[in-house]
């Protein structure tokens, strides 16, 4: 293991998250068994009080996990200088078998955290806590994810040795390989951009329907997720080429480097935020209806739809700017 401050911070965050997740999951079982807001017994009252603590703590853990994703990725990029063969974060994640699983789990935790925080806020907005059961059922689902994330992260950091020779991004993101990364790299630039544009249109139409007619929230969530996947593919297949001004450099992580003006953050932050917001819109529509939230949910859905569309638009603007300002000519 490399004794480095960001690694210690991430491990501390994960340890805290795991402890809270375990405790919250145990409490969630009690809530699912005995929660009845109409009951005025002392047991229910104690449960109601305890939910305040658990929700606050779990909410904080979720916020920490969102910040941890950025720290994890940024630090991986920074550590690339320590590994032979590494040029960017890809080399660091590739330094052992746990790097990419840890990153994938961290991204999954990020989206789970964003959705749960949305759920929590909606629940607190209703005077009778109408979503408490759903919220705690969700904790039961998220807790294993948090534990798996902490375990993968620990395994990754413990096995991180600087004397291994890792492979650089140009070895991973090349059409010659087998696997998902190579498939994304091999997709023709024109096709990738068309795919992105179609998904973007779907998002805009679904978002418009939600805002104008109050319908299509689930569709927006699906379109948002499709846009996310199309955007990642397009970044690897074509957008990165424009940023690097290079026809063969497909790495989605080098974008985060200072050499390219940290341009990756202008792409990834709106993309991740937009996807989380769009998925949140779908989730809010799918939640069980309740009287106390009858007026609040539609407003929240509209607000989140506007924000999701704005985030996707920011991503789109960043993509257009990358293409317009590039010296590379891929078409025509």
């Amino acid at each position: 293991m490399i004794l480095q401050v960001p690694i210690l911070a991430l491990l501390l965050g994960s340890a805290l998250a795991s402890a809270v997740a375990l405790w919250a999951a145990c409490f969630a079982i009690r809530v699912l068994r005995g929660w009845d807001i109409t009951n005025g017994s002392g047991q229910q009252l104690a449960l109601e009080r305890a939910t305040q603590l658990v929700s606050t703590l779990f909410g904080l853990v979720m916020l920490i996990e969102i910040a941890a994703l950025f720290l994890f990725v940024f630090n991986a990029d920074r550590m690339a200088t320590l590994f032979v063969g590494a040029m960017c974060a890809v080399g660091t994640f590739n330094a052992n078998a746990w790097g990419f699983p840890a990153l994938t789990l961290k991204i999954a935790v990020f989206f789970a955290a964003a959705l749960w925080l949305r759920l929590d806020r909606l629940d607190r907005a209703g005077h009778d806590y109408p979503l408490t059961r759903v919220k705690y059922a969700a904790i039961l689902g998220i807790a294993p994810l948090l534990l798996a994330n902490a375990a993968a992260e620990l395994a990754y950091f413990l096995n991180l040795k600087t004397d291994v020779i890792t492979s650089c991004c140009s070895k991973l993101y090349t059409p010659a390989n087998a696997g998902l990364a190579a498939e994304m790299t091999g997709l023709a630039p024109g096709r990738a951009l068309w795919l992105l544009a179609i998904c973007g249109l779907a998002v805009a139409l679904a978002g418009g329907a939600v805002l104008l007619r109050g319908r299509g929230a689930r569709l927006l969530a699906l379109a948002g997720i499709a846009f996310f996947l199309a955007a990642l593919t397009a970044i690897v297949s074509v957008i990165s080429l424009y940023v690097y001004d290079h026809p063969n450099h497909h790495c989605p992580f080098c974008l985060l480097k200072r050499d390219y003006g940290y341009f990756g953050y202008a792409l990834y932050i709106p993309l991740f935020a937009g996807t989380a917001l769009a998925a949140g819109v779908g989730m809010m529509r799918a939640l069980p209806r309740s009287d106390s939230l009858a007026a609040i949910t539609p407003l929240a859905i509209r607000r989140h739809t506007r924000r999701a569309l704005a985030a996707f638009a920011l991503f789109g603007a960043a993509v257009l700017w990358a293409i317009a300002s590039s010296q590379l000519i891929l078409f025509g």
């Binding site: 480095q4 603590l53 606050t56 320590l82």
Partner: protein
């Protein structure tokens, strides 16, 4: 402005006013908290600055150094190898380097003697350029005072000063003596046509690995050290020292977290009454929790800014007087150098995680306890 933002603004306003009423208690907490952050932030800032210095220094180093090994030990390398290395495609320039160490029995220090690679820097015969620390430790009172080095009893080798190396380069040149090739060979009694090692510059950094492989085939007994390897070693060393310091300071963070939890659970009668009144006039449990979280957040932020600010001054204005020997290392001749002030966002974020997280985690349960108490119970 959304209702949520308005609510948070009102809570922050109220919390600030409430904190001002308990000024002494809060300032005390803030100072102790800031002290803990100061220790960790000093280590982090100092290590970041050292890593940065190492990067700057190594940017000028040759891409590849070739050393001769005999029985696993470093030995002089023949000048004939220079031509062989020059023949490798992609090699920009090959230069034989002459450098060595000399133990000075007068003050117990080790000097580095070297023939400068830049011909403009080579001093005339019998003269030398001295590093910043050398005249200081040998007590050479005036600028033209000669340096006498004794290799064995009865021997005196005189070097007249041709100038002094600038203070800015002290980190690498404090113990350095730069002299001409003839003087160097005479001083160490070296035969001609041998060098300490060979520096190879490579035009395209992407070709380094290939050139190292070719040189390795050509010189199977040689040790090939690339600039990246040296840089990596320094980075690892400084990361490790910083990590050790921070891990040790972890004990103080833990102690502080226990202290903060204790402090938060022992609410004063006045605070308890305040919470009771707030709840009696219609505040919800979550409002009280939010208010207390704001309090914790403001204290954390204040302590973080204050502690980090102090650490910045400590490291860059006062040369990290408290921890320098741990992080820098130690020797008889130690360069007296100033670090370039710099702040690393990742390190600061990590620092925020390491200090604010334990505090928040430790205080949240006491906060909840206070917030869920019944108004009549606490006001009684």
């Amino acid at each position: 402005m959304t209702p949520w933002v308005r609510r948070q603004q009102a809570l922050a306003d109220y919390t600030l006013a409430a904190m001002a009423r308990r000024r002494v208690k809060n300032i005390g907490l803030l100072l102790i908290y800031a002290l803990v952050i100061f220790v960790i932030a000093s280590a982090t800032l100092f290590s970041t600055a050292l890593r940065h210095e190492a990067e700057i220094v190594l940017a000028e180093a040759p891409e590849l150094i070739v050393q001769n090994l005999v029985m696993g030990r470093h030995d002089m390398i023949s000048a004939e190898i220079i031509e062989e290395l020059e023949a490798i495609r992609g090699v920009g320039g090959v230069t034989g380097r002459l450098w060595g160490y000399f133990y000075d029995r007068v003050n117990g220090a080790n000097y580095t003697l070297m023939v400068p690679l830049d011909p403009k820097m080579v001093p005339p015969a019998g003269q030398a350029l001295f590093g910043e620390a050398l005249p200081r430790t040998r007590g050479l009172g005036w600028d033209t005072a000669p340096l006498f080095l004794s290799r064995y009893p009865g021997d005196l080798f005189r070097l007249d000063p041709a100038g002094r190396l600038s203070h800015e380069s002290a980190l690498v040149s404090a113990d350095l003596i730069l002299l001409g090739e003839e003087d160097f060979r005479a001083f160490f009694d070296l035969p001609p046509a041998v060098y300490t090692d060979i520096a190879v510059s490579i035009r395209n950094s992407r070709e380094i690995d290939t050139i190292v492989a070719k040189a390795g085939k050509l010189l199977p007994n040689a040790r090939l050290v690339t600039r990246d390897e040296i840089s990596r070693t320094y980075q690892k060393l400084f990361y490790w020292r910083e990590g050790i310091m921070v891990a040790m300071a972890g004990a103080s963070v833990l102690a502080f977290a226990i202290f903060a939890a204790e402090k938060a659970s022992g609410l004063s009668a006045e605070e308890t009454r305040e919470i009771g009144i707030l709840k009696a006039i219609g505040w919800d449990t979550r409002d009280v929790i939010a208010m207390k979280l704001w309090e914790g957040g403001l204290i954390s932020l204040g302590a973080f800014l204050f502690g980090t600010g102090l650490a910045y001054l400590h490291v860059f204005a006062f040369d990290a007087a408290l921890f320098a020997s741990v992080l820098k290392g130690w020797s008889v001749i130690y360069p007296d150098f100033r670090l370039t002030p710099m702040i690393d966002g990742v390190q600061l974020t990590a620092l925020f995680f390491l200090t604010v997280l334990p505090y928040t985690a430790a205080t949240i349960v006491p906060i909840w306890r206070a917030a869920t108490a019944d108004p009549d119970q606490v006001m009684r």
